[in-house]
Symmetry: C2
Subunit: 361 residues, 2 copies
């Protein structure tokens, strides 16, 4: 049934603002992106109501790998980083941010990512734009080693402004019950390892945009203070790093020993508001601000917005995107494994007796 030139004068769904055909065209465009994330565990079927994912490649492997599997799931969005993507007209990286925000949260508990689903709320479906968004999600899923088994695009012209959209994601992983990491095993003397962030990641963009406005900054301009050849807007849109493969490979390399007591993904709340989530109530995390170089972007934003340093550390990751709390004896071995996986890990500080707080000094 064509939806154009309809004979009667009654209301149709298309006139009311929802274009089902544009939705169908979008599905055609994004299917290839979904498929490149599929492994043999995905049970694919066109038109299915839900995505299906086998917990292991086959029954025999599954029984060998899991005695008491725990599913680990989280949901997160990319915050107002989408507004920057819209302003710059660059839509193919925000999907990686969305995957990163979820997958980095999930691996904190010791999980291996299995699959991902995305939700896009949008003013109007523009198939080309939607393809770019989903391409980024699929890129992120490939980086994280998980399958993109579903998603939803909701066209809501009266909720979202023209050109605007919101992007949220959902990730599921699995971990054997005995190996779930919950911070209870963190001990005084443990070492805190930090992994570098690629920039702002996906938290604090409402403050970033306030600073842009306050200091009348130009997204298209190259600022020498940034020590980057790209214009400010591009630097700010740099996608969030995904730590999944690196962290999972370290976890897998210790089959019996459990040298990692806790981990944290540094999101809204910064180091003080996230490393504490990896502690129990009788230890503190002592972090030395001089342990790493704060990237020029954060110093630039702090200066331009005259933002208090404490506020900077509470809102932004300040260059540290992920932390691992490890037994001192294993520190060098774990750092070497991380280096081999492409990271540049550094010692941020150590665990002391305390009350579950993060002490920055």
């Amino acid at each position: 049934m064509t939806r154009k030139n309809r004979p009667n004068k009654g209301l149709t769904y298309a006139q009311a603002g929802v274009d089902i055909d544009a939705g169908d065209r979008t599905v055609d465009r994004i299917t290839a992106h979904l498929r490149r994330t599929y492994g043999p565990r995905v049970l694919g079927r066109d038109g299915a109501f839900a995505g299906c994912f086998r917990l292991d490649y086959n029954e025999r492997l599954f029984k060998r790998n899991y005695k008491d599997p725990v599913l680990i799931a989280c949901t997160d969005g990319v915050g107002t980083k989408v507004l920057l993507a819209v302003q710059m007209g660059i839509h193919d990286t925000i999907g990686q941010d969305c995957v990163a925000m979820n997958v980095n949260d999930m691996i904190v508990q010791g999980a291996e990512p299995l699959f991902f689903l995305d939700y896009v709320g949008v003013h109007r479906v523009i198939p080309e734009q939607m393809e770019q968004i989903v391409k980024g999600v699929a890129d992120g899923c490939q980086l994280a080693g998980c399958a993109l088994i579903g998603g939803e695009t909701a066209e809501m012209p009266d909720v979202y402004k023209p050109g605007d959209y919101d992007l949220a994601g959902f990730a599921v992983g699995v971990c054997e019950l005995k190996r779930v990491i919950d911070g209870q095993r963190v001990e005084p003397g443990d070492i805190i390892i930090g992994l570098t962030s690629s920039g702002i990641h996906s938290n604090g963009y409402t403050l970033v945009r306030a600073i842009l406005k306050h200091a009348k900054l130009n997204l298209d301009k190259v600022y020498p203070d940034l020590e980057d050849t790209r214009p400010l807007g591009r630097v700010l849109l740099e996608p969030t790093r995904i730590y999944a493969r690196q962290v999972v490979s370290v976890l897998r390399s210790y089959k019996r020993k459990r040298p990692i007591g806790g981990m944290a993904h540094i999101t809204g709340g910064g180091l003080p508001g996230n490393v504490n989530r990896a502690l129990h109530s009788s230890v503190d995390a002592k972090i030395h601000k001089k342990a790493w170089q704060i990237p020029p972007l954060f110093k630039f934003l702090q200066r331009q917005g005259k933002v208090d340093e404490q506020e900077m550390f509470r809102v932004f990751n300040m260059g540290v995107g992920y932390t691992l709390i490890v037994r001192p004896h294993f520190t060098e071995a774990i750092m070497e494994k991380l280096r081999k996986a492409g990271e540049q890990p550094f010692v941020l500080g150590r665990i002391t007796r305390g009350t579950g707080r993060v002490v920055l000094s």
Copy 2:
């Protein structure tokens, strides 16, 4: 650190429009709602980065119940039904809609719901409003028999208009591989059973709102044509029915036999756009429009909007929220089980040889 009366004049996150404390107050309010959905399979921990859910109560039970488990996952929102909730100032039922949209999709594949997560994008976090939204989500989870193990509230004042929000959800269930329902076993002669909807459910609200505007309808008015004592707005906000417990109980009652070949959740696209998703390419579904009484609400909206009947059937569920395609020999037994579970099932039509189409007559 208090966020008020800060001494310096630099920008803070709160001034930029994000109130972290309101977020914290919201977490306090919603925790009780999450907890009432928990069963023994939820591994709860405050401040965790992700929700953790054991696949069975214990290792022994897990091995007895699953040989080759398949995870079944989906994501969906509630569309512009949120705008109606906002307009009416009623926020404690839209969460059930959100759970329903996801869980009803998932059970179509034969899954038992395990857990749910919600995502709320909002102009500004109002703890009382957020509690109402999450209360509805928790109600829906209890109806569906799944745990609400996580969620995200994203405050985005520059994306959402004051008072507005968007609500999406994500559900995961499990099904033994051999029992996944994919429509491949549907045969000519099979019977199509329909289950009643509670109203519009959560699709087509953009058209509903266009009709409201076109016909200058009043949400606060009781229209005799609706055959309902409640005002129009309340009738339109009636939450989506959740078919999970009923359908799962029927599926569980057939341990060896597999009398159900396909199922469909009737969402956007109506009967013709959803029952086809339960078919393979060599059968048709013949549905008789006279097999059930179209509820007064649909006739009222059709008349008020002068909407073509075909368009009505393509956009709305027309009173049928869920369908099951069953072997003829089992029809009466399955209908009796559904009746015992509180449903009023009816025969909608039957399967014939064909090309994967739905034929309404």
